[in-house]
Symmetry: C2
Subunit: 304 residues, 2 copies
């Protein structure tokens, strides 16, 4: 199960009624924040979450609207008496830029573990989440993130019995262990497990032109959270110049990738009501949701 909450859906400038783009993911006791703009800690508070519980922060890129909230966020974590380390993952320059930004927040009593993305694609395992950072195309180095939660195959007692596996080893094999008994026989998990099962997958990509990699990573995903910077197709020139996407371009990615649902985020402050584009967008991709701050959902393993 993966809980997703869009803390903010605004791009560029925080507005009185729209927080900057940021997303909270929760899975099996781990909490991941994607981006942390000015006010993200307030947005989190408003959704009744606490900064204290966040253990990992993914940064898409270092523009201020995605990062300026970090010093305050980490200080508020500190005030909540957090002592456990916090991991921050981001593009090249991570430590240099964060050390600059943190000149105004020097006394953070827990360890900050910087994990700089080293290549165009890199995978991190955070609890049960397999998180793949993949390069996208913005005016500065920027990454999208693909979050996958694997589902273990079902235990198959008939298969275990047929293979003659001693009953006392079943539960260890079922948990994924490989076991060698006192006679030197080795048993592997696949001897007791059924066929592979589809896990959960979501992709987060904003502040980018609609590059091919996004659809590739999002193929068959349960959810794509994508960029809704511009709704008016007449803004294409701005989208090209500033390396952003139109909602139409993003909806086309969702359609191409065959995702179950698309949520928009990172609306331009020049677009007070993205709802007005709903019909036009849903003509491109029917399951497009014109999200607002606080948009929440739970991605579950699908019934078989």
């Amino acid at each position: 199960m993966l809980d997703v909450c869009l803390l903010g859906t605004g791009g560029t400038v925080p507005l009185p009624n729209r927080w900057l783009t940021s997303c909270l993911l929760r899975c099996d006791g781990r909490s991941v924040l994607i981006d942390c703009g000015e006010g993200t800690q307030i947005a989190l508070h408003r959704q009744s979450f606490s900064c204290r519980q966040i253990d990992t922060i993914l940064l898409t890129h270092y523009h201020a609207d995605h990062t300026a909230g970090l010093p305050g966020f980490l200080l508020t974590m500190a005030k909540s008496e957090r002592t456990e380390p916090v991991t921050i993952i981001g593009p090249k320059g991570l430590e240099e830029i964060l050390r600059g930004v943190m000149l105004i927040a020097r006394y953070v009593p827990f360890e900050i573990r910087y994990m700089e993305i080293q290549s165009r694609e890199q995978t991190f395992q955070i609890g049960n989440m397999r998180i793949t950072a993949f390069a996208v195309k913005h005016s500065v180095p920027t990454y999208g993130y693909c979050i996958e939660v694997d589902r273990r195959p079902k235990f198959d007692p008939q298969k275990a019995q047929a293979a003659g596996i001693p009953l006392k080893l079943w539960s260890r094999l079922q948990k994924g262990e490989t076991v060698t008994d006192e006679n030197g026989n080795t048993y592997t998990p696949d001897m007791v497990l059924g066929k592979e099962r589809k896990g959960i997958k979501m992709v987060y990509a904003t502040d980018t032109r609609p590059v091919e990699y996004i659809a590739e990573h999002a193929r068959g995903a349960d959810l794509l959270i994508g960029e809704g910077m511009y709704g008016d197709p007449a803004k294409m020139e701005n989208a090209l110049k500033n390396r952003h996407m139109t909602m139409q371009e993003c909806a086309a990615i969702a359609a191409k990738a065959g995702v179950r649902e698309l949520w928009f985020t990172h609306y331009s402050p020049s677009m007070p009501d993205p709802e007005i584009y709903r019909e036009e967008i849903q003509a491109v991709f029917a399951n497009a949701v014109i999200s607002h701050d606080g948009q929440t959902g739970t991605l579950k393993f699908q019934e078989e």
Copy 2:
């Protein structure tokens, strides 16, 4: 005339209903912002002001709750197509710290003029405001600010006539010019001006123990904006440890300095309703205002 607006009154952590401590001053076409925490640009927007008009930013110190909003604030100014320079005044380390913080906001198209305070007391002239920074006592180098607007003495035609000053020179002398005529006679403004007149004075001091300098600078001021970090006198230990003030200590400064009015700011997030201390505080200083975000006032030259 000096317009004053408390954009936020919160200390340490921004709350959903209380912005971080920041103050806007406007005088004769100049706009000065004191401190810029996370969300200050939203607070300004909420009060129907624009970032664009701010020409000077005074920083009391470099803790994140007073400075983390700067990258976003300056970027929003940039998006408003400001081209005029912005002056930032602050304690030692100004340029180094700001350059670190601005690593996430590299493309600001106007000049930022850094004016580092060089001594325990230093005066800056910003338009008609004479701004004196004075060192206070916090856990890091911190300054209070005294803002004075001088009032020119009244023009005294009888005095001018008695001194035999040619009529055609009156207006230039009245404006403060010294004039020498073709016969070599020199005339000075004091020859046409009446007695000195009281100007406007306000003092801003937060994040400090109640040091003597605050009362000295605030003597006879129209307004003291002072720290209300703790209302409960039992928090004195915290005030001493973290180098903050209690509301009682601040009210005692106001009484000692004989100011006309005291506004509180920088309330601890542990104090959701500072109003509950009103009676107790007003017993120390009757004209104490338990300010809230958006507290606004206009300081005028007094009637004679």
